[in-house]
């Protein structure tokens, strides 16, 4: 039985929670039954927390193989009467967009909340798309918490609304909200909500064209109900300054609400503007905003990301004939990157026409040695990349994919030439090879392969593509924190899910040229690469070795030995330059191995047998 306050905490208790943990508590307080996800920063801790808690029969959790599947499973659960949560990062919702739109048409009686964790500033992502567009595009009511407390409250409210309207509801966070910590006041933890009995209704749940058209009208009607709820939602609040004389107003949504509050406090401007903070941001509370606009001559809209709210407010003012100057995005507050208190201060100072208390930033010392993220010491990807570079050098083009192994782009390994999205190593690699004379070597991890590599591989076989694919199978979903995937060994998956044999899947998809090697066996990896190099068609090498962090922390693998420099000289330095293991360090023209970092993979010994030797730890 878990002693975790998320499951044990009673009404009135206060705990310091990560934003993502607060979402879990909110879902539990709402009475959630089913949780599905595909991990992705910054969303991952939501499902990982559900996993850690175990649930004690309250809910069923699954790590689905991709976001589309996760959303379909959750939608199916909600059709079957369960209150369901599906969690993913922003780009994951692109994968899940197909079921998202139709779910909103048919409506889901049990209630579905879709968590989209966006990543402005691209902390761990390939783009900074603003998923508030999806709420508008697919017609989903949308909540945007900005504190841990709100994350819990809004999650609960999102579930309540999802069940009341039988419409999927979006909970949209951003990196800073998912990964903030703050105190959260707990409410009661009731038993899970009763599941609803499924009632067959062909005229609703099977959206053939005639049904879909009718359901579109129902969707619009439900969104009108949601708008009325937004008009009086406790998450949409207006703050009138003492005296209430000012005709200047700021409308803020998302994390910009925090920057606004801190900027107004820093500038001492709290009495100079009236503020409308929107937490339930879609459907737009048009009457609430109109009433606010009527009290203003000038309005500034603050929102990180796209200018969605700004354009809506402009349109609203035009529609209702309100003569108010509306400002928003400009050269200071763009649609790119993250906002900050200082940015908000600058913008407000210019808008209020008063001096800015923020001093100009001091020059930054750009001459410092960088510290980019790197493959860990003992990472099996490094061994495979080293071998690939020895065999192919710059002759091949390297089609990369999404995971830790994208870090292969750094010198000296330089084994990533292009990347589009999850699974694209195979399909974009196939297309590239068709257009170019150069051989293409693709790299994909095990979780990403099961996510969306399988379809690309089937297509490559079906369409006679010419590609060498290396599956970097480290037995876990490493980048996001070692979540389960079908490649994980059964012993670690336990009763929760079933292991799938990677080679059987590859061969089952029609690949006949397939080799399986241990990633740390440099000779075997090199031999497999060389053999496959001279062949044509779809070729797959599965390079297996557990992620070094996972092996140490979860598999509890002993590290009985470390590498040591046996002989200084050109061979040792060449290994340093080509392998660039972070456990190596240079002292003058001598090389040494940091024993606290070395994991004992012994790849360096295989590259430079006279320069290194193994030593018992």
């Amino acid at each position: 039985m878990s002693n975790d306050p998320l499951l044990r905490g009673a009404r009135g208790e206060r705990h310091l929670l990560l934003g993502n943990e607060a979402i879990v508590r909110g879902a539990l307080e709402a009475g959630v039954h089913m949780v599905s996800c595909y991990p992705g920063t910054p969303s991952s801790e939501v499902a990982d927390t559900f996993l850690r808690l175990g649930g004690e029969g309250r809910y069923r959790l699954e790590y689905s193989i991709n976001e589309k599947v996760a959303l379909e499973v959750a939608a199916g659960g909600a059709l079957g009467g369960a209150m369901s949560l599906v969690s993913m990062k922003h780009v994951g919702l692109n994968v899940a967009a197909d079921p998202l739109f139709t779910s909103a048409y048919i409506g889901l009686p049990g209630g579905l909340v879709v968590l989209s964790a966006d990543d402005p500033g691209c902390h761990s992502s390939q783009n900074e798309q603003d998923n508030r567009y999806y709420a508008r595009f697919a017609s989903l009511p949308c909540f945007e918490p900005v504190s841990a407390q709100e994350a819990k409250e809004m999650t609960r409210e999102a579930f309540r609304l999802a069940r009341e309207l039988q419409q999927p509801v979006m909970l949209r966070t951003t990196t800073r909200v998912s990964h903030m910590r703050g105190p959260v006041d707990f409410d009661d933890l009731p038993a899970p909500q009763p599941k609803l009995e499924f009632k067959r209704d062909f005229g609703r749940f099977v959206p053939v064209p005639a049904v879909a058209l009718r359901r579109h009208a129902v969707l619009d009607a439900n969104m009108e109900k949601a708008r009325q709820i937004a008009e009086s939602s406790r998450f949409n609040t207006e703050k009138e300054p003492v005296g209430g004389q000012t005709r200047l107003g700021v409308i803020a949504s998302g994390v910009a609400r925090n920057y606004l509050a801190d900027a107004l406090a820093s500038g001492g401007w709290e009495e100079r503007v009236r503020v409308l903070e929107l937490g339930m941001t879609w459907p737009l509370p048009a009457d609430l905003i109109s009433a606010f606009l009527q009290k203003c001559d000038g309005v500034l809209v603050l929102e990180e990301g796209a200018d969605l709210l700004e354009q809506s407010v402009r349109a609203l003012a035009q529609k209702r004939g309100l003569a108010v100057r509306i400002e928003g995005k400009d050269a200071t507050l763009t649609g790119r990157g993250e906002y900050s208190t200082t940015l908000a201060l600058r913008r407000l100072a210019a808008w209020l026409d008063c001096p800015c208390p923020a001093k100009p930033a001091r020059p930054v010392d750009t001459n410092l040695p960088g510290r980019p993220p790197n493959l860990c010491p003992g990472c099996s990807h490094r061994a495979v990349y080293y071998a690939a570079r020895q065999v192919f050098g710059d002759d091949a083009v390297y089609s990369s994919d999404i995971g830790c192994y994208t870090l292969g782009l750094l010198p000296p390994l330089r084994t990533a030439d292009f990347l589009v999205c999850m699974g694209s190593s195979i399909s974009a690699g196939s297309g590239f090879a068709r257009a170019s004379d150069k051989p293409v070597v693709g790299f994909i991890g095990d979780s990403t392969f099961f996510h969306s590599g399988m379809t690309g591989l089937a297509n490559a076989v079906f369409n006679h593509h010419n590609l060498l694919l290396v599956i970097l199978d480290n037995g876990t979903t490493a980048m996001t924190g070692h979540q389960p995937n079908p490649g994980m060994v059964q012993q670690m998956l336990g009763d929760m899910s079933a292991h799938m044999d990677m080679e059987a899947v590859v061969r089952g998809l029609g690949v006949t040229q397939c080799a399986r090697v241990r990633a740390f066996n440099l000779k075997a990896v090199t031999k497999a690469l060389e053999e496959m190099k001279d062949k044509a068609g779809v070729r797959v090498i599965i390079a297996e070795e557990p992620c070094a962090l996972y092996a140490r922390r979860r598999l509890r693998k002993a590290q009985p030995q470390v590498a040591q420099v046996a002989q200084q000289g050109a061979e040792a330095l060449r290994c340093l330059e080509r392998l660039a293991c972070p456990a190596f360090y240079r002292q003058g023209d001598k090389l040494a191995v940091d024993e606290t970092l070395c994991s004992g993979c012994m790849v360096c010994l295989q590259i430079a047998p006279t320069a290194f030797k193994a030593k018992k730890r």
Binding site: L18, M180, A358, F584
Partner: protein
């Protein structure tokens, strides 16, 4: 913001290297502040940045809401690695306080001999130009004395608590260590707490 609020409102910027345990240290200090009855918001970034890269986090006390700091906003900079202290220096407001480890963890480019690690004297000099007060502490060394390199983080936290720049002292940190750290880490961290308190002299 009222004048008396100004004194309580603090923004602390933490910077270090992935794997050092700076996020654990941030959470410990956040819990300490919460137990001391202060308003607390902490901010972190997980994911790709943690793979040996720079790890930044923030702790806001007394009512600040924004879990991300811009240049010039931090009242206190806690550097768990000296190069990262130097890199993070623009976040400090003029006259703010810096507490930093003086034990370098060279980045890969330095280990490979492609770049050179800045001189400690240069790091300290540049820090003094901006900071109202600054202390460089051999945290890793003292941490190892206490029982592990990781408890060097507690040395740094203890030093900043002892300095008086925070609205609570070492006693509050000690109580939080006893309440929130697992039993097997208590002894080394309590020893580190003493070393950190005494290091300011």
């Amino acid at each position: 913001m009222k004048a008396n609020d100004t004194q309580k409102r603090l923004r602390i910027y933490f910077t270090g290297v992935g794997g050092q345990g700076t996020l654990t240290a941030t959470t410990l200090l956040a819990r300490t502040a919460l137990e001391a009855g202060l308003e607390v918001v902490a901010g972190e970034v997980h994911g790709m940045a943690q793979r040996g890269g720079v790890v930044e986090s923030v702790l806001l006390l007394g009512g600040w809401r924004s879990p991300k700091l811009d240049f010039g906003e931090a009242d206190v900079l806690l550097g768990f690695e000296p190069l990262e202290t130097l890199r993070g220096l623009p976040y400090l407001r003029h006259g703010g306080a810096v507490f930093s480890s003086s034990d370098p963890l060279p980045p890969v480019s330095v280990s490979l001999g492609q770049a050179s690690y800045p001189d400690m004297a240069r790091i300290e000099e540049q820090t003094r130009m901006v900071a109202g007060q600054c202390r460089f502490i051999p945290c890793r060394e003292l941490g190892l004395q206490a029982g592990s390199a990781q408890s060097g983080n507690t040395v740094l936290l203890s030093a900043v608590c002892a300095s008086g720049v925070l609205p609570f002292g070492v006693d509050a940190l000690e109580a939080a260590i006893k309440k929130y750290l697992p039993a097997k880490l208590q002894e080394s961290n309590l020893k580190a707490l003493e070393l950190g308190r005494d290091v300011l002299g």
